[in-house]
């Protein structure tokens, strides 16, 4: 089984010039934690995740968040949201994002996603966005591939 067999065949994406506020709104409406950023030709040029947005809004705080004594300055965060909200997604997206070819094996994709600690990744065919895959689908595909039929019941969401 390859990534193309289990991916979510959804093409929802952001333009390079989409504002951070619009990106937040789209992520909420589409119930997702990150979206690919594509250029006018439909090629993937980056990925904007919740973490990228947090990094844009609270750049200095993110590193301290694990510390118990960190007290977020809410007024300052609100000000930052207003300040960066109109900025384009391409200013904050991860440019060298992990992306898979649809023929990539599930085990390779799984290794890369866990090693780089990423939850979602775009799937491409000749550089063009054809879908998206997340850890949950990867895990399902991996179990489906490695357990005998009947041993465990794993519904696969999409088929080629």
């Amino acid at each position: 089984m390859v990534v193309g067999d289990i991916m979510d065949r959804d093409l929802t994406s952001l333009a390079e010039e989409t504002s951070l506020l619009e990106a937040i709104s789209l992520m909420a409406l589409h119930d997702t934690s990150g979206l690919p950023v594509v250029n006018t030709a439909g090629q993937v040029v980056g990925f904007l995740s919740e973490k990228d947005i947090l990094r844009a809004v609270i750049p200095g705080y993110l590193g301290y968040m694990d510390e118990n004594f960190t007290m977020p300055d809410v007024a300052k965060i609100k000000g930052m949201v207003k300040r960066v909200g109109r900025d384009p997604a391409c200013d904050y997206m991860t440019k060298k994002c992990i992306a898979f070819d649809e023929e990539e094996t599930i085990s390779n994709a799984m290794m890369q996603m866990f090693r780089k600690n990423i939850r979602r990744a775009p799937v491409m065919r000749e550089g063009m966005l054809v879908g998206i895959v997340d850890r949950e689908e990867i895990l399902r595909g991996f179990v489906h591939d490695n357990f005998a039929e009947g041993e465990v019941e794993i519904p696969i969401m999409s088929a080629k």
Binding site: D8, R9, D10, L11, T12, S13, A15, L26, L29, H30, V38, T40, A41, G42, M128, V130, G131, M157, S158, A159, K160
Partner: protein, 309 residues
């Protein structure tokens, strides 16, 4: 890629009862749920015929999630714009004793101007990769009657064939932009440009007028079993032999899906009509959404009679 546009998708709920009369309570003998709406149906049937498509439009709420998940399960690519509210549920009740079907449909969620803008942005972005575009069905609140015309304009600029299956003012306006194929479903269109579609002569009169304006194919349903085709080679009346029809709900969508496949495979005019009509035969006889397989469609090609009129 083939793109289908469903501005107002739905969850189709089909109940079968032994009998059905208004004002009484019934327990359904069976319930079949499926994602619906013109473009969604075309995407499903295209997949059953072995063709991938991108299903687009506006999705909202739990019903929207159901529609997307079902398309995902069927391996169909999606590029919907998610909006607030709830997609509609279309309820169909089939009365087995009388063999008749009753339908109740909803209006659908309101589409904002931002969502419409996003839809057009999505469409422009995928257009360089598109081989054909199909759009159809009722428009939800917030979507103006000019919607289909605007889409036809965008698609025609890229020299891509575009199929329209709509009704009312939205259809009239779309025709102005000269789509490649126009489907007129008599169940929903009683008149067009002030010509009542009551007789074969009237259908041919209006089809000829639209053809002269520059539309390549005009197809009008004619009773349940037949379609009138107006083509570059003249008028044809195609009739399907229907033995045990279950539902006519997706018949129009099956015809269009068949025609899209025929065009992709460069079939001639008569073969295109025959293939499309055979898709209708299989779809109206299938209790599930769409048709059983391409092989089934090919097995009933001989059950279509075509005559030049």
């Amino acid at each position: 890629m083939i793109v289908t546009i469903t501005p107002n998708p739905a969850m189709d709920e089909s109940y079968t009862t032994d009998e059905f009369r208004p004002g009484r309570w019934y327990r359904a003998r069976s319930v079949v749920r499926s994602p619906g709406g013109r473009g969604v149906n075309v995407s499903i049937i295209l997949k059953q015929l072995g063709y991938n498509s991108v299903s687009t439009g506006f999705l909202a709420g739990h019903t929207g999630r159901y529609i997307r998940d079902e398309l995902l399960f069927r391996g169909i690519t999606t590029n919907f714009v998610n909006i607030k509210g709830e997609n509609r549920t279309n309820t169909f009740i089939r009365d087995d004793s009388g063999g008749i079907e009753t339908a109740v449909t909803e209006e659908g969620p309101t589409v904002s101007s931002d969502a419409r803008e996003r839809f057009f942005w999505n469409l422009e972005r995928i257009m360089p990769r598109v081989a054909a575009v199909h759009m159809g069905g009722a428009l939800p609140p917030g979507v103006p009657d000019t919607f289909y015309r605007d889409v036809v304009d965008i698609v025609k600029r890229k020299n891509v064939p575009v199929y329209v299956d709509a009704s009312g003012a939205a259809l009239d306006l779309a025709i102005e932009a000269l789509p490649t194929v126009v489907k007129i479903d008599q169940r929903f269109v009683s008149s067009i440009r002030n010509v009542t579609l009551s007789t074969l002569d009237h259908i041919m009169e209006i089809a000829k007028r639209i053809f002269d304006e520059g539309v390549d194919w005009i197809i009008a349903s004619y009773f349940n079993k037949s379609n009138v085709f107006c083509t570059t080679k003249g008028f044809y009346l195609a009739e399907a032999k229907l033995e045990t029809p279950v539902t006519y709900r997706a018949a129009s969508d099956a015809l269009i899906a068949g025609m899209i496949v025929a065009r992709e495979e460069r079939m001639g005019i008569e073969d295109t009509m025959r293939f499309g009509m055979s898709c209708v035969i299989q779809t109206v006889s299938c209790p599930q959404k769409g048709l059983p397989s391409r092989a089934a469609v090919e097995s009933t090609l001989g059950d279509v009679t075509i005559q030049k009129i």
